[in-house]
Symmetry: C2
Subunit: 372 residues, 2 copies
């Protein structure tokens, strides 16, 4: 189980700073979770994650279930030992990946009948399976199996997915309650498309099931940014303040700042890691693409104010060279920088919440970010 | 300049252990030099190289000359600062890469007229250029521009290449003598194809030029293994014992053991790093391919007796999983293991030389290596 305590609240916004205690250590919120899809945060080691001050990572159930498979994970008594990460882990339910990667043969009341994107093999995942698989993975926080919809989607589609999500949430909760060893915590996922009344209905139905934490799913799926914020602004206050609130799959540094000010506590996104591999680096003064010819002779670090390994040891010119040569080290050094940037941004927000100066922080953040 | 001292000699073989002092630190020989082609030993950082106990790395002049180019290197006052490696560096002359990668338009008395394999741009490299470029790179040990020949090659071809190599060696020596700041040492490269009398002639002509060290070039270019050993056995005793003897571009662990016993002091090869990226891992008990299905559930490290980061922290099953997923971390962890293996093999040989038990060492080495 987890324990969540609010330590400070912003008086100007809905931002809050808290402490989330899990079986593998405590987490300071608001928190960003680097994504380790296949049992590795791409290009970095657990030691490097610690040095980037990662507190918790996210891993993808769908990917791990298919490869290496649960037999292998059982050999290691879970993902922690398999991948050599001793901190907290959150796993998603697999629902979103089945929706976005696999070929779904059938979605029934029973669960998802799908084909692997790797080898085409056929699998059925029920809500009970999702809980069992995540428990086998040994994740500290596990997610209910939910039904995702594309954007845009009509109301009928959103209602059907919402109903299924609620029903599956109930089954997940029951299964989780039956598992003797509840070291983990199960979060419910609010769906409802871009319909406020459906979002409210989803939140209410999940709250009735009383989960240790709640997530907003189905955001950042292609809708306009304004709409995403509108939905988050609408939903986050509907969730109980004493529980952690997690906005799934978001986002840019600006998104995180906005969503924290709206009351979100937890985030995950492939953006810092994926963009690193594409040469895009985040800095306090805006984003840069290290591939740009302008960096060829540049002896400065990516961000002179940054304390990450990459900035302490290497120049833009060297990173530019590595990237142009498609050297493996390029992806690692870029990833380390981007993760460090995201994680220090979260710490800076937390500090601003404690000082109750979140609006000042926001102003300064936007001013600097638009300087480049 | 360098200083070389023999510290111990094997009474049973021609193996010797020495100390090679360079501007960036001293090196215990026999030594293996990891290859950092483009200003990075692929997939690892300088800190990881130190942890693998690398003492000196090799970098490729041809690659660095083309990319990032000498203007960039000058900005950083050399390769050490550009790539953040503070230990000794040896650079090759570029001759072998021009021979093997570039499209040579013309080889004249003047030098190589060639086209870049990257963008087709045309370049002329003279022996004087090779010395100047390597000096700009700031390498501790630099190599004479030599003329390589394919295997097999007839005597006429070998004679022509030998003559050119000797003449160019003289020009390199002169240029090196003219450069005011001789912090580096220039090595001559023995050529002569697979003809013993030509090899002897090449060695003699180079010795007359009195270099701080000597290398055997043009080996491991496709000839049968026996012939390679025969040539090394013939050539190594012809070189002055008080100077370091370097066999270029070799080889397997077995090759290194054989060549050390024949009196070689220095080696470089892409084998540990390249094979790592192809999933082949070296161990005391033979080589394994981590891609093999047999490793899927294997909770043991690659080599239970190995002290490298990879073996201390990860299982074969995890490495197998990472490799199957083509995860970036796979290449790094495999590389760390293979480099550690090669470098500890060199230390073990050195120890055996000091104990004057090289033949015992060899027997035990071969017995274990053939166990898998």
């Amino acid at each position: 189980m987890i324990d969540f305590n609010i330590e400070a609240k912003s008086s100007e916004t809905r931002a809050r700073a808290g402490n989330l205690i899990t079986a593998h250590g405590s987490i300071e919120t608001p928190v960003f979770m680097p994504v380790g899809t296949a049992g590795t945060v791409k290009a970095v080691t657990p030691e490097e994650l610690h040095k980037c001050r990662a507190q918790i990572i996210l891993s993808n159930t769908y990917h791990l279930y298919l490869r290496p498979g649960m037999e292998v994970i059982r050999q290691f008594s879970g993902l922690h030992s398999f991948m050599n990460w001793d901190g907290p882990i959150l796993t998603d339910s697999g629902g979103f990946q089945i929706f976005s990667l696999a070929k779904i043969s059938k979605t029934t009341q029973q669960g998802f009948d799908f084909q692997s994107h790797i080898d085409g093999s056929r699998h059925l995942i029920t809500p009970e399976d999702a809980v069992e698989i995540q428990t086998t993975l040994g994740a500290d926080i596990i997610m209910c199996l939910d039904s995702c919809i594309p954007y845009p989607a009509d109301e009928k589609t959103a209602i059907d997915a919402l109903k299924l999500t609620t029903r599956w949430a109930g089954r997940c909760k029951t299964k989780w309650g039956q598992l003797s060893d509840q070291k983990n915590a199960l979060f419910g996922i609010v769906q409802g498309g871009m319909f406020k009344h459906l979002r409210a209905q989803s939140a209410e139905e999940l709250i009735n099931l009383n989960f240790p934490g709640y997530a907003l799913g189905g955001l950042s799926v292609g809708e306009p940014k304004e709409l995403m914020f509108e939905m988050a602004d609408h939903c986050l206050p509907l969730l109980p303040d004493e529980k952690p609130k997690y906005v799934m799959g978001v986002g840019t540094p600006e998104d995180l700042v906005e969503l924290v000010s709206l009351g979100a506590d937890m985030f995950d996104c492939v953006m810092p890691t994926r963009n690193a591999r594409n040469g895009q680096l985040f800095t306090a003064h805006g984003n840069i693409n290290i591939n740009n010819a302008g960096f060829k002779y540049d002896t400065d670090p990516v961000d002179p104010g940054c304390g990450c390994y990459t900035c302490l040891k290497y120049s833009r010119a060297y990173l530019h060279h590595l990237y142009r040569c498609r050297e493996l080290l390029a992806y690692r050094l870029n990833t380390i920088h981007n993760l460090y940037y995201y994680l220090q941004l979260m710490r800076a927000m937390r500090k601003a919440i404690f000082a109750d100066k979140f609006n000042d922080f926001k102003k300064s953040f936007y001013r600097k970010r638009s300087m480049n």
